[in-house]
C-alpha cells in the first residue's frame, strides 16, 4: 500500500483506529498456526458502514483485506499472506441479545463464544458448538472456520446453528442472508456457503444463531481399554445401540502418559486408550443410558469403567482431556495439530494408519480427539528449529491427510484449510470439484481481494512448516 492509500484509509475510518507502526503490524502478522506475514495496516472500527467503505476502496485499488477475530486459528485463516489490510473484528463485541421466544441469539462478530454460552445458559438455553478455545475465540472466527468441538457428535458444528447473517461483500456492499427462522428455503442457502468460507467470500458483521433448550442433566463415563482397536469398537457399539452421547472423546496411551507426567490425576498409564463419554438429557433416561453404555464398553473388552459421582469428580475427569494439549507441548516445543476426520467406522483403521506413519517417519505422534464423530486430532510434537525433523514431519502430515481421504474422510473436521492444507485440496475434491469452488470465489470476489491465499493452492504450493 502506498502512503496515499494509507491516507485514504485514515480519511474513511472516523470512529476507530488505523495501526501502521511496525510493532502493531508485527502483532497482527500471526495466528495459532505457522508463518509471519506483515500487513500494511490494521483497522479497528465497530462501524459497519466504515468497514464497507474500506472494502469498496480496497476493491477499487486491488488491496487485499483480511478479517480477523482473536487469531486463535490453527490453519492460517487470518494471516495477511499478501500484505494489505487486516480488519480486527474482535473490537465489534457489543451486540449479544438472546431472544427466548424465537430461541435465537443475535451477535456481532467480536463476541467471545464463551460469552454466548454464558448468556444462553442464564436463560436456560444452550448454544451447542463448543470449540476448546471458546473462552478466547470470537464467534466471527468460529463462523469463518466453521468450528466444531466435542459436542459436535450430538449437536453438529457452527454452521448448524447459524441461520442468518449480515455480510459485507468483497465489492463493499452490505447484504443479509437467511433470517430468524429455522425453516428458510428462499433461494440458494448463502448462509451455509458463507459459514466455513474462511473469510474468502465476505466479512460477517452480524449473525443470528439458533439456540436449544438446555438439557436438564448430564453424566460422565470413563472406559479404560488395553487395546486401541477395542476402544474404536466400543464407539461404534454405543452409537449403533441408539445412544447418542453429547461427547465421546478418545485419549491414546501417549496422551495419557503425557497428562500423567504433566499433572498426576491417577490415569491408568498402562492402558492403550481411554474413552470419555458425556451423556445429557432427562435424569431418568440418563441413568439407564449410563448403565447401558458401561455394559457395552465392557462387552467389547473395557477393563475398567469409572463413573464420577458428582460435579467435582466429573470436572476432574474432563480436566484430564483438557490437559492433553498443554501436556504434550512440554515434550517438545512445536505442536502440529491436525484434525483429519474419518467416518466413525474407520476409526480403528485410522488409528492403525497413524501408528504406521509414526513409525515410518520416526515422529512423536499423539492421538486424541472427538472420536464419536471421527474427528481425531493426530498431533505431532516436534522442534521447529530442527530442520531435518521438520522435513520428516511434513511428510508424515501429508501422509496423514492421504490416509484420511483414502478412508473416505476429510482433510479438516474443524480447523479449516487456510494456508496449511491448501496444497491437498485437489486430493480430496478432485480437479473439477475444486474448480467449482474456485468459480464461486471468482463470482463473489472478481478482484480476489477478500482473504487471498487461503483454501485454494497457489501453483506449486507445498506444505512448509519450517
Amino acid at each position: 500500500m502506498t502512503s496515499a492509500h494509507i491516507e485514504e484509509v485514515m480519511s474513511i475510518v472516523k470512529t476507530g483506529r488505523v495501526l501502521t507502526d511496525e510493532s502493531d503490524r508485527f502483532s497482527y502478522s500471526f495466528d495459532g498456526s505457522f508463518g509471519t506475514y506483515l500487513p500494511d495496516a490494521v483497522i479497528q472500527t465497530k462501524n459497519v458502514e466504515e468497514l464497507a467503505a474500506l472494502v469498496k476502496f480496497a476493491n477499487r485499488e486491488r488491496i487485499p483485506v483480511y478479517p480477523r477475530g482473536q487469531s486463535t486459528c490453527l490453519s492460517g485463516g487470518p494471516l495477511p499472506v499478501k500484505g494489505g489490510m487486516v480488519f480486527d473484528l474482535s473490537v465489534m463485541n457489543d451486540l449479544l441479545e438472546i431472544s427466548e421466544e424465537d430461541l435465537v441469539a443475535v451477535v456481532s462478530p467480536g463476541v467471545l463464544t464463551a460469552d454466548i454460552h454464558k448468556a444462553a445458559e442464564k436463560k436456560g438455553l444452550l448454544y451447542p458448538p463448543d470449540p476448546s478455545s471458546s473462552h478466547v475465540s470470537t464467534i466471527g472466527g468460529n463462523m469463518a472456520e466453521n468450528s466444531g468441538g466435542p459436542r459436535g457428535l450430538k449437536y453438529g458444528v457452527t454452521k448448524d446453528y447459524v441461520i442468518g447473517l449480515e455480510l459485507i461483500t468483497p465489492e463493499g456492499e452490505i447484504i443479509k442472508t437467511g433470517g430468524r427462522t429455522v425453516k428458510n428455503v428462499t433461494g440458494y442457502d448463502l448462509t451455509k456457503l458463507i459459514v466455513g468460507s474462511e473469510g474468502t467470500l465476505g466479512i460477517i458483521t452480524k449473525a443470528v444463531l439458533r439456540l436449544l433448550p438446555k438439557p436438564p442433566a448430564s453424566e460422565t463415563v470413563m472406559a479404560v481399554f488395553n487395546n486401541l482397536v477395542d476402544a474404536g469398537s466400543a464407539i461404534s457399539k454405543i452409537l449403533s445401540a441408539g445412544i447418542l452421547p453429547a461427547k465421546m472423546e478418545l485419549m491414546d496411551q501417549a496422551s495419557i502418559a503425557a497428562v500423567e507426567n504433566y499433572e498426576p490425576l491417577g490415569l491408568p498409564v498402562d492402558a492403550e486408550a481411554i474413552i470419555l463419554l458425556e451423556l445429557d438429557g432427562h435424569p431418568a433416561a440418563l441413568k439407564d443410558e449410563v448403565k447401558q453404555a458401561a455394559e457395552l464398553c465392557k462387552s467389547v473388552g473395557a477393563r475398567d469403567i469409572r463413573i464420577p459421582q458428582n460435579a467435582v469428580e466429573r470436572a476432574e475427569v474432563w480436566r484430564a482431556r483438557k490437559l492433553v494439549s498443554p501436556a504434550i507441548v512440554r515434550i517438545k516445543p512445536t505442536k502440529i495439530s491436525e484434525d483429519a476426520t474419518v467416518p466413525r467406522s474407520k476409526i480403528p483403521q485410522m488409528c492403525e494408519r497413524l501408528q504406521q506413519i509414526r513409525d515410518k517417519y520416526n515422529v512423536h505422534l499423539v492421538v486424541f480427539g472427538h472420536a464419536g464423530d471421527g474427528n481425531l486430532h493426530p498431533n505431532i510434537i516436534c522442534d521447529k528449529s530442527d530442520k531435518e525433523e521438520m522435513n520428516r514431519v511434513e511428510q508424515a502430515v501429508a501422509e496423514i491427510f492421504t490416509a484420511a481421504v483414502e478412508l473416505g474422510g476429510t482433510l479438516s473436521g474443524e480447523h479449516g484449510i487456510g494456508t496449511m492444507k491448501a496444497p491437498f485440496m485437489e486430493m480430496e475434491l478432485g480437479t473439477v470439484g475444486l474448480d467449482m469452488m474456485k468459480r464461486i470465489k471468482e463470482a463473489w470476489d472478481p478482484n480476489n481481494i477478500m482473504n487471498p491465499g487461503k483454501i485454494f493452492p497457489e501453483p506449486g504450493q507445498k506444505l512448509e512448516l519450517s
Partner: protein, 434 residues
C-alpha cells in the same frame, strides 16, 4: 554494542519464546489487552515481538520499547498459559536488553541512577523520605499546599497520590519499632521479618502491626539488621545488575538470622524474594544460597495460617468486605488460599468476591506514576467491579495495591463510605491490636 543475531537471541531469551504456541489463552486475562485493545499490548503480542527480534525480522529493537514498557508485569498470563511460557523471564530479559541499548536523556539518567542506586536501597534515604512525609503532613505545609492548587501542576499526577499518602510515622515512633519480639504463648516458629523499602518508609505502621500479629500467632520475630530493598523495582525496570546486588545483600543479612521463615507482607516484594533463586541461578557462588533464601521466603498470610490462624478476633457486625488480590502473590508466589482464609475467618463479616477478582488494579510498582493514564483506565475497570460488590472495606496485600485502591476510592468519590486496608491492618483491628 554488538547486534549479531546470536547475541540478540541470547539477550532476549529467544529460546524461551518458542514454547509460546500463540493459542491466545492469555488474552482474556491481560489487563492491558482489555483496556488498550490491541494485540501489541497483549502477552502473546509481546512475546511475538521478542520472537521477531530473535528471528531477525525486527531489526530496530526500539520498536519493542513501548509495548514492553506498557506491560504491568502482573503475570496473570503465566497463570493462564497452558504451555508454561516463562513470560516474566522473557519480559525481564527484554527490558534489560533494551535498557542497555537505550540512550536516556541526561535528567532521566540521573533520576534513574538516584532512585535505583541511592534511594530505594538505602534505609537511611527511605527513612528520610518517611520523615519528610511526616514533617510535610504534620507541619501544616500539607494543608497550605492542598489549598494552593499547586498539586495539580506537579508532573506525573503526583498531586493525586499526595492526597492518598498514609498518615506518616514520626521519627520518634519510627525508632520504637521492635527489632525482636517473643512469641505469645507456645512458640511455633522463629521468623525473620523483611521490612521492605517503601513499606518501611510509608507503611511503617503495617510493618509494626505485622510483627505484633506474628508474635500473637506464636512466632519469635527478628527484624534483621542490614537488610535492604528487595530489588523488584530494579528488575522490572531492566536494572538487573542492581537487583542482583541487592539480592546478595539480603541473602547475607538473613542468613545470619537462621530463622524458619523469612516473612514479608508485600505481594510485590514477596514475589521478588521468592524468585531470588531464579535471579541468581547462573551465579555459581550464589545460586544455592539464593535458592535456600527463596525456599524460606513466605508471605505473612502463609505463616499466620501455618500457626493456626489468628486467635481471639472480635466479631464484626456484618461488615461487607471485598478483596483485591496482589498479582504477584497470586501469579508468582501462587499464594491464593491463605489470605482469603484469614479474611473470611474474621467472625461476622460478609465477604463478597468481586468480578474479575484476579485482574490487576493497575498499580504495578511505579507503573501508576510513569504511565498514569493507562493505569487509571485499568483502575476504572477495577473500581467498577469493586463498587458492584457494595463492600465498605477493600482488603489488599501489597502497598502498591493499597495506594491504588485508595486512589480509586477517591476518584469515585467514595472516601466517605469505603475504606481500603492492608489485610494486616484489618486483622490487627479485629484482634484489638493497635
Amino acid at each position: 554494542m554488538s547486534q549479531s543475531l546470536e547475541q540478540l537471541q541470547k539477550e532476549f531469551l529467544y529460546e524461551k519464546t518458542n514454547s509460546c504456541v500463540q493459542c491466545g489463552y492469555c488474552l482474556p486475562v491481560c489487563p492491558t489487552y482489555a483496556t488498550m485493545g490491541k494485540e501489541t499490548h497483549s502477552p502473546r503480542g509481546r512475546i511475538n515481538l521478542v520472537k521477531m527480534v530473535g528471528e531477525g525480522k525486527i531489526k530496530d529493537v526500539s520498536v519493542l520499547e513501548e509495548p514492553l514498557d506498557l506491560c504491568l508485569g502482573c503475570r496473570a498470563c503465566e497463570t493462564a498459559c497452558p504451555t508454561g511460557v516463562e513470560y516474566g523471564s522473557i519480559l525481564e530479559a527484554a527490558r534489560a536488553a533494551l535498557v542497555r541499548r537505550k540512550k536516556f536523556s541526561a535528567p532521566v539518567r540521573l533520576l534513574r541512577k538516584t532512585m535505583f542506586k541511592k534511594v530505594f536501597p538505602s534505609s537511611r534515604m527511605m527513612k528520610l523520605t518517611g520523615n519528610a512525609l511526616w514533617l510535610y503532613q504534620k507541619s501544616g505545609i500539607q494543608k497550605v499546599v492542598q489549598s494552593s492548587g499547586i498539586m495539580k501542576k506537579l508532573p506525573y499526577h503526583l498531586g493525586d497520590f499526595e492526597a492518598i499518602a498514609p498518615p506518616a510515622v514520626s521519627p520518634a515512633e519510627r525508632k520504637q519499632t521492635p527489632v525482636r519480639v517473643g512469641a505469645k504463648g507456645e512458640k511455633k516458629y522463629t521468623v525473620a521479618f523483611f521490612t521492605g523499602c517503601i513499606m518501611d518508609a510509608m507503611f511503617q505502621r503495617i510493618n509494626r502491626l505485622s510483627v505484633l500479629l506474628l508474635a500473637e500467632a506464636g512466632c519469635d520475630v527478628i527484624v534483621v539488621p542490614n537488610q535492604t530493598c528487595c530489588g523488584a523495582l530494579h528488575a522490572h525496570s531492566g536494572e538487573m545488575e542492581e537487583a542482583r546486588h541487592l539480592a546478595k545483600q539480603n541473602i547475607i543479612a538473613f542468613e545470619k538470622a537462621n530463622a524458619d521463615f523469612i516473612v514479608n507482607n508485600a505481594g510485590g516484594c514477596g514475589a521478588m524474594l521468592y524468585e531470588y533463586g531464579h535471579l541468581l541461578a547462573d551465579d555459581k557462588e550464589w545460586a544455592d544460597r539464593a535458592a535456600a533464601f527463596s525456599t524460606k521466603s513466605r508471605d505473612i498470610s502463609q505463616v499466620l495460617i501455618a500457626c493456626g490462624g489468628m486467635p481471639d478476633l472480635q466479631p464484626r457486625s456484618g461488615e461487607r468486605v471485598t478483596y483485591q488480590r496482589s498479582c504477584h502473590m497470586t501469579n508468582v508466589q501462587k499464594v491464593v488460599r491463605e489470605p482469603l482464609e484469614l479474611l473470611t475467618n474474621v467472625p461476622g463479616i460478609k465477604f463478597v468476591e468481586m468480578e474479575e477478582a484476579n485482574m490487576c488494579c493497575g498499580s504495578a510498582g511505579i507503573y501508576n506514576i510513569v504511565h498514569y493514564d493507562e493505569s487509571m483506565d485499568i483502575l476504572d475497570e477495577k473500581m467498577k467491579h469493586t463498587k458492584a460488590t457494595g463492600a465498605s472495606t477493600v482488603i489488599t496485600t501489597n502497598p502498591g495495591c493499597l495506594l491504588q485502591m485508595k486512589l480509586g476510592i477517591q476518584r469515585e468519590n467514595l472516601s466517605g463510605s469505603v475504606r481500603a486496608m492492608h489485610l494486616i491492618e484489618y486483622l490487627a483491628e479485629a484482634a484489638g491490636i493497635s
